[in-house]
Amino acid sequence: MNAVTNGNRRAYKLMIVDDSNIMRRRIERSQTFEEIELVGTASNGLEALEMFKKMDPDVVTMDLTMPQMDGIECIENLVKIKPAVRILVISALADKATAVEAMEKGANGFLNKPFTDRQLNEAIAELIR
């Protein structure tokens, strides 16, 4: 993964995409990786695309059910811009077909809501290690 080296440690730029402000704050607060720096948040796919072009994140957490542009369409666009981006879908949609579709479009992991802090950190660890 093409992340910036910060001293001896690799630093990853994180963007959080979710239409719920509570969820965005929850993800920010609960992730415990020192090597991750939050560079932006977005509340829908369109906002996420704009933010992505400006901030060039390495890791993205992505909700699926969002207004204006949903997560699946957004993932497709992000991967076209930066194929090496690592995307963790965090969604309430619990059917297998949706998870498979997200992975086919370019997501690297899938975490169902609701989730514990431990589940979130394990899922992020899978993404960056």
């Binding site: 239409d19 509570i22 929850r26 207004p67 309430a92 949609l93 619990a94 059917d95 949706t98 609701p114």
Partner: protein, 149 residues
């Protein structure tokens, strides 16, 4: 109309939500059918429209006091009106989205819309009756209401 097994999906989704998100299980009462009119609502109501292979609405309605404690359990420090609205929408979205595990991907859920006030009028789908799933959590009561064709 919704079948018993389908109702069980929503009961399990509600149980799971409180166990995981609030880290404290809720006691779920026996679901009942509303025979007349619309179910009463609490101060905040998050609604999800369902389309696809089923049609109707799923909504979570709760009093402000319950949502405040739920937010505290989630380590939130913002208890504004907007955050309450956000939370009821997110609860309704999570329980409805989780139901796709059993209903499949053709159970299409909308983004949440939120009503505030216990006099709020819930849009009804003609010919569809509502099932109420009572939720008791700590000293508070809320409801999940499922009305599906």
């Amino acid at each position: 109309m919704i079948q018993e097994q389908e109702l069980k999906t929503f009961v399990e989704g509600t149980t799971n939500y409180f166990e995981v998100a609030a880290q404290q299980p809720a006691s779920i009462g026996s679901p009942y059918l509303v025979t007349e009119g619309q179910p009463t609502v609490h101060e905040y109501t998050g609604m999800i429209s369902i389309t696809g292979k089923r049609e109707g609405i799923v909504y979570f309605t709760a009093p402000k006091a319950m949502l405040t404690v739920l937010l505290m359990k989630m380590q939130e420090s913002d208890f504004s009106h907007e955050t309450m609205r956000d939370l009821v929408g997110e609860v309704a979205n999570t329980i409805s989205g989780n139901a796709r595990k059993d209903f499949g991907r053709d159970f299409v859920i909308s983004v949440p819309s939120v009503l505030a006030g216990d006099k709020a009028e819930i849009p009804s789908t003609p010919g569809v009756r509502s099932f109420v799933i009572p939720i008791n959590w700590r000293s508070h009561s809320a409801k999940l209401i499922v009305a599906l064709k």
